[in-house]
Amino acid sequence: MVNGFVPTSLEEALKIRAANDVIPYAGGTDLMIGERREGAYLFLNRVPELKIVKREGDVLRLGAGCTFSELIEHPETPALLKEALQRIAAPAIRNEATIGGNIANGSAKADSALIFFVADAKLKLASTAGERVIPIKAFYLGRKKLDLRPNELITEILLPTKWLTPYYYQKVGARKALAISRLSFAGLMHIENGVIEHCATAFGAVSAVVLRRDDIDAMLVGKTVEQAKQIRGEYLAAYRQAIDPIKGRVSSEYRKMVCMNLLEDFLEANGI
């Protein structure tokens, strides 16, 4: 084949990746538009290891090559991830686009990445030298800058599912279908006997990387709802300070206001 490799196992894919300067092709839906880099493609759609969906206790292992449509239809897919995937693009794109590709594209607007951030998912990266597992937050170094070595592929997303329900999720786009997020927000709060056991939030499309400030969210953890109400202002102020939105098609003022509105709505939905 000219300019392409079509491996049928992960081992074969990693060997090709190590021995050649190739561009990984997952779903192709971002790669094929815009400016295209010259070079051979490493097609990953026939690698069965990248298609796994496997539950192991509280962690769901998702192959990086799972398409959005495959996961929307899969019974193991958590409701929050399913909702986010259903709101991406349109059926013809969801049939090809993959979660690994959405992450590897390196955009803070990636709607599936937002969910992996709020869930504190980990990524499994593999090369012929072996595997490593790192938090998704550590994988993103900046816009389009990733901690991915030239011989590595993203093979799995390890998604902790314990805190994924109940959830709060909002995607703000210019229209219903085929809309790129102007802003997206996901929040998870688990209250047991009036005590906040878990609180996690993530903001998409506001900065170079999805904003996930577990240090701020930690302010509410271990507090009763009543105590949380008392420090509500402090919590919101910390985020008001932390959110410094990028300017894009919409103004940064707009983005910030919507972020804060959604955050407040998330707290209110949880009685705070």
């Binding site: 092709y25 759609n45 349109a90 013809a92």
Partner: protein
């Protein structure tokens, strides 16, 4: 020793000798002269280049040729030989769901995918199913109606 990309094109085994990075849309139109596949936006926004890859709706502008190695690609030319097409064709005609026609090859293939997934779709299912296919003439209502008619008339085909 390098060999070409082997795939099924409208049911026939085909070998493409060009680059694996070539765009499926361009190859279908220019190499195989399958000009029923329309080029609208070339960025996945309009759906006019829709084809079926292994029975799933895909925008051919976003696919590189290496992706179809070992797969089956069906364009409107291939689909037009099926019984399902005849039902959709008649249904679209019966409510004048076609005006300029540019979106229609993609729209017909999207209609087929809606009915393949669910032979008795709700109106919401239909609108979701064609949400990636833009039509600037009809305002969509006639198309939705045509798909509802096809679901009825084509009972048992999907």
């Amino acid at each position: 020793m390098r060999q070409g990309i082997v795939f099924q094109l409208n049911g026939e085994e085909t070998v493409y000798e060009g680059s694996a990075t070539d765009r499926l849309l361009d190859v279908l139109r220019e190499e195989y002269r399958l000009t029923g596949v329309k080029c609208g936006c070339k960025e996945g926004e309009c759906g006019s280049c829709s084809v079926l890859i292994d029975d799933k709706l895909v925008n051919s502008c976003m696919v590189a040729m290496g992706r179809v190695q070992g797969s089956s690609v069906v364009t409107i030319e291939g689909f037009s030989k099926t019984e399902r097409f005849k039902v959709l064709d008649a249904a679209y005609a019966s409510v004048s769901a076609v005006q300029c026609g540019y979106c229609i090859p993609g729209m017909i293939l999207a209609s087929n995918c809606i009915l393949s997934k669910n032979p008795t779709p709700t109106e919401a299912d239909i609108r979701e199913g064609i949400s990636g296919n833009l039509c600037r003439c009809t305002g969509y209502n006639a198309i939705v109606k045509a798909i509802q008619i096809a679901a009825k008339e084509g009972e048992g085909l999907w």
